[in-house]
Symmetry: C2
Subunit: 225 residues, 2 copies
DNA sequence: TAGTGTGAATTTCTTCACAGCG
DNA sequence: CGCTGTGAAGAAATTCACACTA
């Protein structure tokens, strides 16, 4: 309600899902030396239409200058703040199978401010070893890991059958943000934030649109958009 | 328009994104020997509310029986048909780096009907080798690969900088469905269906909700939902 | 009677269009 | 003049609630 602008409450979900998109673009603009950007430019560089860009940005406050555009650095700052990216948040990957190993080796997380602090696996053949410089620990060491990485995000990269049990242990150990890659429903207490990513589901959705060639309709960002 | 039921046109996007969820659940129910299921049961097993389940299923046609529920096998059949899963669709992964290698080794795709037919990489040190039984070919062999796998889906697992160029080559080679894991905007012609999955973006969205602990609000299926 | 199918109400998201300001 | 910021219109998605029927 507060019209004060410093802290605009309740940013719509759809907008939140697009903020990282703008941020990505802004960082690249900043790298290219641009210091202002218009909603139209952000629109072409993100694939979101200009009116939507303006409305989305307006939820952060009024940081634009009429006739000019937005200050790139300022927007990066405000957006990072809203996204909670000012404090680095590390990641704990549960499951050192194919997907888990891939995710540790993948640069994408650490490059964008989410370093992998640890991996967890039940297999005693794996625990104690390092993958890509990250130690694989047994589930029993979860509480210590969480204590050493406050506010960390748990990533579930285990088979679907054990996903719920794994999530329960993560929550028990104090993790309150979870990204689940296992294709199964998991339930969490109210105070835990959960997101699901199902890679095969994406292929099935593609398959649907491929069948009828309604391209463009399917162009959506993961799941949300 | 057609009230005939055999082929309900224009299923809403939001519904399409949930069909794979129902399918996953139905397959597991079928495996457990259930032959009917109610919207309430599907609701609890997918995390979607019951009214939404019924509305979604109604887009496929009227396959339920009042007072009883839905026939599991029938629903699986109709849903698979709508999703275009009756003909197997293979996948070509562009980029044999960490993410690409992870995806080939990952069972999730082939287990759910999307076998990996080939990998493509420019690095001559990689081409010719096999990863997880899949041959890594050079980009020049793309046309043959596509010809050998009609209707295949292209997966882009390359660095962001080259994603657009890679997508262009895929399209040129005849691929019309693309799943892009590179965190960058890519543009495709109208007849090509594109979906984006940005893993770090998911973490950023989690970070947003973690910051304000508005849990539950964030519970959404990637992707889109 | 138990559970579907669906119009109608509601909420959320998108798009339009333009007043207002630098 | 150019571009933001935003009310208001419009579209899409969700939820309600209940008539209907196997």
């Amino acid at each position: 309600m507060g019209t004060n602008g410093r802290f605009h409450r309740d940013i719509p979900e759809a907008t939140v899902a697009r903020l990282p998109l703008y941020l990505r673009s802004l960082i690249s603009l900043a790298g290219a030396g641009d210091d202002t950007v218009s909603s139209a430019e952000l629109a072409t560089s993100t694939g979101v239409n200009a009116a939507k860009v303006r409305k989305d940005l307006s939820y952060l406050g009024s940081f634009g200058t009429r006739g000019v555009g937005y200050d790139v650095e300022r927007l990066i700052f405000e957006m990072s703040r809203q996204l909670g990216l000012t404090t680095e948040r590390s990641v704990v990957i549960a499951g050192a199978g194919n997907l888990g190993q891939a995710l540790v080796k993948y640069r994408g997380f650490s490059d964008r401010g989410f370093p992998v602090a640890a991996m967890i696996d039940i297999d005693p053949a794996k625990t104690g070893s390092e993958i890509s410089g990250v130690l694989v620990s047994s589930p029993s060491s979860l509480p210590e890991v969480v204590a050493a990485n406050p506010g960390c995000i748990g990533i579930v990269a285990t088979p679907a059958e054990v996903a719920q049990a794994v999530v329960d242990r993560l929550v028990e150990a104090g993790i309150t943000s979870i990204l689940n890659f296992a294709p199964s429903l998991v339930v969490v207490p109210d105070f835990v934030v959960l997101r699901q990513v199902d890679l095969a589901l994406e292929l099935q959705v593609l398959s649907f649109y491929a069948e009828r060639n309604l391209a463009g309709v399917a162009e959506a960002l993961h799941s949300i958009d």
